[in-house]
Symmetry: C2
Subunit: 351 residues, 2 copies
DNA sequence: TTCCTCCGTAAACACGCGTTCACCAAAATA
DNA sequence: TATTTTGGTGAACGCGTGTTTACGGAGGAA
């Protein structure tokens, strides 16, 4: 069933059918209804590839996810919850708005050419990705081509640096600096001043923010940052296991540990438990993100909630809106975090 | 950059370029190399839409996921880990084999027409979905069209019933009946005979299997199944909260509870803890799936591991293989489960 | 030398739809 | 009534690539 057939069955020309489908003017109501009836009857829908070839939009957005699955033990793969909910949210929003979602994993900066490729091939008319400053030039290249993309977790400084304020770009962030300050002030309020940190990845805006806020708060209060209390976790559980095991060999442990995400906080708790170090009696822990598990742990993890779902939903919404209105404008949105006090922190004088 | 340009630059005709790209015969080695050099130089790749329109394969598989996000509390969405790892695995495998993945959520049986639609539009050349007997006719329709699909968690009886043994169908299951028997025999070995169950969804093969195995084992041992000990959990946490709250109002509780997935087991544990019922001292609990959290809980959840990642990987592999070899055959694969004993079960005489 | 075969190539058509342009009929105006 | 104006329509072309067909040249056999 193609438009030729519909035209024949409705007794009009193919171009009239096209005009009806695309809601163009210059077609009298009577003719329009006649054509629509035939379309309805045969359940006709124009062929996507042909439409794309003829220059129409493709109703598809690309989702590019950085692959960070960890092989916990042989044969077992741990996939971060963070990115999983990411995909789900995008697909949900896009589907309800009539869009397809093409998911692609990205392994290294080199893979960023895949994004351009998908645009060039007209497979997608918009893209969503998680920011990564290491590849900020790649993003610049994409926006320079005029392709609309939405980036979640991206440094505003990079936007300035690449002069992307007038490109077709959507940036959605969470206010991690403020969130970190709030969490650390809370733990300091409990009497802690030997506070360690498990850092994330510095190529990430959120990773940078959380670390810098840590430094800022410590300096503000005049507390010393011991280099041996800075654990390089890279947002990964595996890395965290190693770092924490190194940490507990020290003579003196920090009284509190701020992990830049929940995955690492949980990993640290595992090691502590194995080694007989009690949380929060011997050491207080704070995480970041508030992944679903955090509340179910024992003790339940004190953390900072990042509204990932809202952020991704917003990013997708703005992207599709921009595509449909054919706007070419820069948009930015910041979501506040929420401090959630649970059971992994304790007053220092009780210890 | 289109094939016309390549032809001109290489000094040949466009059809020669096409023959080179598609590895057809009748093109002398010298010409082939010349053309390949130009293609390489300009980084040319044929336009996908045009290829599809001209009848070529589209290098894309569709992934249709049943949407079962739960709204835990207002503004918070809980998405089952089960389906998340599903998407990740498919995308990983497909991408490494050079395939795109189009993800679509399905809400009801009616949405199954979307699958046919994607095939008709030649957007995809293969599909992967999670089984759901409620819509088994829809799957029949798809296979009847000759479209290759892979189904994870699908009842072999449905295949018989619809006579799909000679269709282009791949079915991948886990051996849940055996897994359940093993788990229940373990708990019975600990002295339990008042064993309750939190059921999954019966439209699901795994849900059916796990429940029937429960009935089978109980009957084998001559233990009575009390209707009030059968909680209808539907694989959902929310539903489980309600059911467990109803359960604990009874005078006599079961001494052990078999949950048809980990999500529900964890939900039950939450309620028990809130109500001061100790696990495993007052009640033993077994889950199913072994989602990553299970091992991190306190007490760590005793469960039956389902190799979801392996299953999905296999399904995707077989699907792509079938597409590329243009085989039209039925294939079925069953993955064994693994019983994992942790800390949520206890001998009955100790209680 | 002549005829036939084989091989490499280019031109032409097909895929299904969007779009432009020119044409014709009907309505409006003079 | 004659002339413009307007509105509706269909023919033709373009999108980029696969495939078929026909043609021309080279090589071998009679």
């Amino acid at each position: 069933m193609k438009s030729d057939d519909i035209a024949r069955l409705a007794g009009v020309s193919r171009s009239t059918v096209s005009r009806v489908i695309n809601n163009y003017p210059n077609v009298p109501e009577k003719t329009r209804e006649k054509v629509l009836k035939v379309i309805k009857k045969y359940n006709y829908e124009p062929n996507t590839s042909a439409r794309i070839l003829a220059g129409k939009a493709n109703n598809t957005i690309g989702l590019f996810v950085i692959s960070i699955s960890e092989h916990d033990s042989p044969g077992r793969i741990y996939r971060s919850t963070y990115y999983s909910s990411f995909i789900n949210a995008v697909v949900d929003v896009a589907n309800t708005r009539g869009y397809y979602v093409l998911v692609h994993t990205i392994y290294s900066g080199k893979d960023y050419s895949k994004i351009n490729h998908s645009f060039l091939q007209k497979r997608i008319s918009g893209g969503i990705l998680v920011g990564n400053e290491k590849d900020s030039c790649a993003i610049k290249k994409i926006t320079d081509m005029g392709y609309p993309i939405a980036v979640v977790d991206y440094d505003p400084k990079e936007i300035e640096r690449h002069k992307m304020k007038d490109s077709n770009l959507i940036v959605v962030n969470s206010m991690d600096f403020e969130g970190t300050v709030q969490a650390l002030n809370y733990i300091i309020g409990l009497g802690h001043n030997d506070i360690g940190i498990i850092t994330g990845r510095n190529e990430t805006y959120s990773g940078k923010q959380r670390f810098e806020a840590y430094r800022y708060v410590m300096e503000q209060h005049g507390y010393k940052i011991r280099p041996e209390f800075i654990l390089e976790g890279e947002f990964l559980k595996k890395k965290t296991y190693n770092e924490v095991e190194k940490l507990i060999k020290l003579k003196k442990l920090p009284t509190a540990l701020f992990a830049c995400n929940d995955d690492m906080a949980l990993a640290a708790m595992e090691v502590f438990e194995r080694e007989g170090i009690r949380v929060p009696e011997d050491i207080s822990i704070i995480g970041f993100d508030d992944i679903p598990v955090a509340s179910q742990m024992k003790p339940a993890l004190t953390t900072v909630r990042v509204p990932v779902d809202d952020m991704v939903t917003k990013a997708t919404d703005l992207l599709i809106e921009g595509i449909e209105k054919e706007e070419r404008s820069f948009k930015s949105e910041n979501f506040p975090t929420e401090f959630i006090s649970r059971d992994t922190c304790m007053k220092i004088d009780k210890q």
